[in-house]
């Protein structure tokens, strides 16, 4: 690791302080959101209660009654979980084939998959609404949200798995072949245990992307399958008098993901740059 070694005593003390200040500034909005969530709605907008107030949990205890939070949260959990599982279910065999039995076209297929990720979603907004509402009748169902989340993340899932699988020596997989293990056996007994770390971090990152997705989940749902993104966007109005409860529900919406995110910073780089930065 190439960390800088300070030449002067001054730098030894000054730069870390600057780093801490910068980090605190960047974290401040999140801190402020959490901080405000412990104020009553009345206190939250009064300058005299900016820092001096009696902390309360009422915004959290009333979250169900104010926003029906849990219904949206459960939808988010269901759709993100199943979308992640399906993406892995389709992605693991595909990445396995590409990493261990590459053909002339493997590179092109991978590039093409990536290019589907770059299509602007808005370009197909109406066809998607039209198809799912009038034609397939699956508008505003968990099934639809799961399928869409799975498909928009599938390219990244395959890419990430591919980069992880490539690091496994081919000989190990081939030894399995010699022993007459079936393909399914190869994946289940050799590949998955070996690439467990990679698969887990792919899953984690996919889950984060699904949870934060804010275009399709908002536009392809109304009530039944609406996720937390939809809940927050629906309450965007300048609700000056409700800063407290709005902060609480927002905190509850982001907390699981921010915490999950802390654990997969490293994988994030690989996942988002498609392995181009290591």
């Amino acid at each position: 690791m190439a960390a800088v070694t300070e030449r002067s005593n001054f730098g030894k003390i000054a730069w870390p302080i600057v780093a801490w200040i910068v980090a605190l500034i960047f974290f401040f909005p999140i801190f402020w959101l959490v901080f405000t969530s412990f104020k009553t709605d009345a206190d939250a907008v009064k300058p005299e209660h900016l820092f001096r107030f009696t902390p309360t949990l009422e915004n959290y205890t009333n979250m169900t009654q104010n926003y029906d939070y849990w219904r949206f949260a459960i939808n988010s959990v269901i759709t993100s979980t199943f979308a992640t599982l399906f993406a892995l279910f389709v992605g693991v065999p595909a990445a396995y084939a590409m990493a261990f039995n590459p053909s002339r076209h493997t590179k092109d297929i991978l590039m093409w998959m990536l290019s589907t990720k770059m299509l602007p979603a808005a370009a197909v907004l109406y066809p998607m609404t039209f198809l799912t509402k009038n034609f397939l009748g699956i508008f505003d169902t968990h099934f639809l949200v799961i399928v869409v989340l799975c498909l928009i993340n599938l390219p990244i899932v395959i890419w990430m798995l591919f980069t992880y699988f490539k690091e496994i020596p081919k000989e190990i997989i081939e030894a399995g072949k010699m022993d007459g293990v079936s393909t399914w056996g190869e994946i289940k007994d050799i590949l998955i245990p070996l690439a467990w770390g990679g698969i887990a971090s792919t899953a984690l990152l996919t889950f984060i992307f699904c949870w934060n997705e804010a275009y399709w989940t908002v536009r392809l749902t109304t009530i039944d399958a609406a996720t937390l993104s939809k809940l927050i966007e629906g309450n965007r109005a300048p609700e000056g008098l409700f800063f407290g409860r709005l902060s609480a529900v927002s905190t509850a919406a982001i907390a699981p993901i921010v915490i999950l995110g802390w654990f997969c910073q490293k994988q994030l780089v690989q996942g988002l740059t498609f392995g181009a930065v290591k």
Binding site: P47, N212, S247
Partner: protein, 312 residues
């Protein structure tokens, strides 16, 4: 089963699913972009169902090109994306270099810095536009009010009072207004994506060749010239990747624009498509095709860069 067919079978589901996902809606958009298709029309009810008899050729494209919002949306996209890129790359580089050293609490600093990236876009926008930027109730309003009160109090001060009398009373800025809404979006998105740039630059800095730097130090090169001549060239590729990935994401910003001002004074192509979709599907589809072309131009560059590193 032969050695070749099995791998193909394994990757077939993924390929077919993505093919359907890409081709079906996109070909519908392409079709709608060439016909007259509106959702409600009392005068021409035949236009409310998609049919080849409503063929309009490139009429929708011409209509969209002439719409004043279209040019505005493109200019505004360039403004938003360009500003966000400059801010995130410059800040990202500075912060990555800053924390690329050993100091107490480095792990915590990293965690604090990366956190904004995981905040969902809707919460990001709600948090910034209400709790922080609101001209009356947000921190901005409170801070401006506080400064004004302070200055007001100092005006009665003997001797120094005249100096504070020269101070203007500060006016808080409304970030939902036509002239400012784009800047609110730039601010919140830059806050969210600077951590991404930091993370990528930092990963890349750690693979920098340290012996080169030591040699440069021995040769008496200043830290600044080391940064310009060694570090920046080393980071050229990560910078290009940060720029392109962000371009793709930010060209399709939606939630932030919607929450800040509902497109008032601040539109991009996806937002314009959304507005057209409320009635004029033909125009929405033509705009969509323009957006696809734009995204493809950027995507080609990105794919080239990624492709180079793919097989090694």
């Amino acid at each position: 089963m032969s050695k070749r067919t099995l791998p193909r079978i394994l990757q077939t589901p993924a390929v077919i699913l993505l093919l359907i996902w890409m081709l079906v809606p996109l070909s519908m958009t392409l079709y709608f972009s060439f016909i007259r298709y509106v959702l409600n029309s009392n005068i021409r009810p035949e236009w409310t169902t998609p049919a080849l008899s409503n063929w309009r050729g490139f009429g929708n494209y011409a209509y969209v090109l002439k719409a004043k919002d279209f040019i505005f949306a493109i200019q505004n996209s360039v403004l938003i994306v360009g500003s966000i890129l400059v801010i995130t790359v410059v800040l990202g580089l500075a912060i990555a270099v800053l924390i690329n050293r050993n100091f107490p609490g480095r792990g915590i600093v990293r965690v604090l810095l990366i956190s904004p990236f995981f905040v969902m876009p809707a919460v990001n926008a709600v948090l910034w536009i209400n709790m922080i930027l609101d001209p009356v109730l947000g921190l901005q309003g409170i801070a401006v009010g506080g400064i004004n009160n302070l200055v007001d109090g100092l005006r009665d001060f003997p001797v120094l009072g005249w100096f504070f009398n020269l101070w203007p009373t500060l006016e808080p800025i409304s970030f939902r207004a036509t002239q400012t809404s784009a800047y609110a979006v730039i601010m919140m998105v830059a806050w969210q994506w600077t951590p991404f740039a930091v993370l990528i630059f930092m990963t890349s800095l750690q693979s920098e060749d340290e012996s080169q730097k030591e040699a440069a130090t021995l040769d008496g090169a200043s830290p600044w010239s080391q940064f310009i001549n060694l570090t920046v060239p080393h980071l050229a590729r990560p910078i290009a990747i940060v720029v392109m990935i962000q371009s793709i994401f930010h060209l399709s910003l939606y939630a932030e624009i919607e929450i800040v001002s509902r497109g008032n004074g601040n539109k991009n192509l996806p937002y314009l498509i959304g507005e057209f979709t409320s009635n004029n599907i033909g125009a929405a589809s033509a705009t969509g095709i323009f957006a696809v072309i734009l995204a493809n131009i950027i995507a080609i560059f990105l794919l080239r860069m990624v492709g180079k590193s793919l097989m090694d």
